[in-house]
Each structure stands twice: as structure tokens, then as C-alpha cells.
Symmetry: C2
Subunit: 141 residues, 2 copies
């Protein structure tokens, strides 16, 4: 699934399409659970046993700098990475360290129109994201 995607994203930004970048992007795109650099490293190692940690960090930085993936902060001091590029919000569980994406077009509209009317002095808004903290309840979670 999404085989093309991992190859196409670097091209968009005129970045070299290396096997390492494809593999790393593939992991992030397939894995919806916001993996850490270490998790990505472990996964990529399965198919690229020689890739180094330094490369993983550099690729992640490059991809994030070019907006091809997003860095996500956690309560802990570990970065996580998100391959979803459409505007979305995050659900943070206060029990576990889990983060889930939250898509809500209505909410996006409300926020967008709110800040079209109301500007913040001395600040130009580029983007906003809602961090919703709480607890996952029963069910599949």
C-alpha cells in the first residue's frame, strides 16, 4: 500500500531519491502510530541492515525541514514522526504515551474562520493544531 508515495515525496522537493529515504518514508507512511527515531531505525534495519542511526536522524530532519513529514512532540522528551500531511489534530493519552491523529473538518473550519476575523497582534499565523489530552476508553484502544 502507498508504494508510490514514498518515492514521490522526495521528488516534489527535488531531493535525491535514495533507498534509505524511500525506506524511512515507507515506514512512517505505513505506520500510523507516530514512530520514534529508534522505532524507525529498527524497522528500516530489517531491509537495510547497514543503515546508521546518523543517517536516520539526518533523513528525518531533511524530510521534516521540507515538510514531507512532521515532527511531533510528546510529553516525554522524545521526538515522534508523522507522515500524514493533511491538516489534523492530535489526541494525547495521559496514561500511555500514545498519540493518535484526529481529523475534524468542522473544527478546522471553525478555527479558520475564527482567526480570519480575529488577528493576534504582532503575530502572523501560519498554522494551528489542537492538542487534545485525555484518556482512551474501552473498545479497540
Amino acid at each position: 500500500m502507498e508504494r508510490e508515495e514514498a518515492r514521490n515525496r522526495p521528488v516534489e522537493k527535488k531531493l535525491k531519491v535514495t533507498p534509505q529515504r524511500i525506506a524511512i518514508l515507507q515506514v512512517i507512511i505505513d505506520n500510523k502510530s507516530h514512530p520514534t527515531a529508534e522505532g524507525i531505525f529498527d524497522s528500516v534495519r530489517e531491509t537495510h541492515p547497514n543503515i546508521s542511526f546518523g543517517t536516520v536522524y539526518k533523513v528525518l530532519d531533511t524530510l521534516a525541514d521540507n515538510g514531507l513529514i512532521k515532527k511531533v512532540q510528546t510529553e516525554k522528551d522524545i521526538m515522534r514522526y508523522d507522515g500524514v500531511r493533511e491538516s489534523h489534530h492530535h489526541l494525547y493519552c495521559t496514561d500511555s504515551d500514545r498519540i493518535e491523529d484526529y481529523f475534524d473538518k468542522d473544527l478546522n473550519e471553525i478555527l479558520k474562520s475564527y482567526f480570519e476575523k480575529k488577528s493576534i497582534s504582532n503575530f502572523t499565523i501560519e498554522d494551528f493544531k489542537l492538542y487534545i489530552t485525555g484518556k482512551f476508553t474501552e473498545g479497540k484502544h
Copy 2:
């Protein structure tokens, strides 16, 4: 200013009121710019030359665990701390590493009523915060 505050907060949670805790809280409450652990350490050292880094981290963790201060994530992998306890949002500058508090009661109301009507499946909301990214423009910033 706010001299009592730093003494009272630990009492609320039945934490021991130690000089180190008072000093650290004082720095965070006085300093509106979301200081780092290092910045806090440096400030506190001026009045408590023997305090250790480990103590600063432990106090910060204890205070944050008890909700007396808040941990704030940055794009970098450094934690920052916020002494403001009333509900507020954050402005992130994409140029500098600066974070500013953003208070907006109207926005809080809109979000609150939105999520009263619309629930998220399998998730119980405890709190939400809007992370607004953009750039500080001319003026005092």
C-alpha cells in the same frame, strides 16, 4: 511580586515546602518566557549556590506531576516550563525558538461548547490547547 504564590503552591498538594522548591517556583512564576531547566538552574543558583541540577529536574518533575507548573514542548528537544495555570494557548515562532502565551476566552468558549456537543469515540477529553505556529512581526517582538 507574587511572593506568596511560590510558597502556597506546594502546600496545595501537601508537598514539602523547601527553599529549593520555593526558589524554583519563584523563577518560573516571575519569568513569563517559559524558561528551560538550565535557565532555571542558573537563576536559582544566584540565591542557592549549592543547588544541584538533579534537584532542579526532580523539583520540576514533581511540580509538573502535581499540576503546579506545566511542561511545554519545543521544536528542539528541550523542555520548557510554564508557571501559568489558567487555561491558555501557545504561539510558536517558526523563526526563533520563542514561545508566548496566548489568552483568548472567546476561543476557549468556542472550543468548549464544540466538544460538549461533539464527542470523540473511545476518548475522554480532559483538556485541549491550541498550538499556533507563525511569525512574530515588528513591534516589541
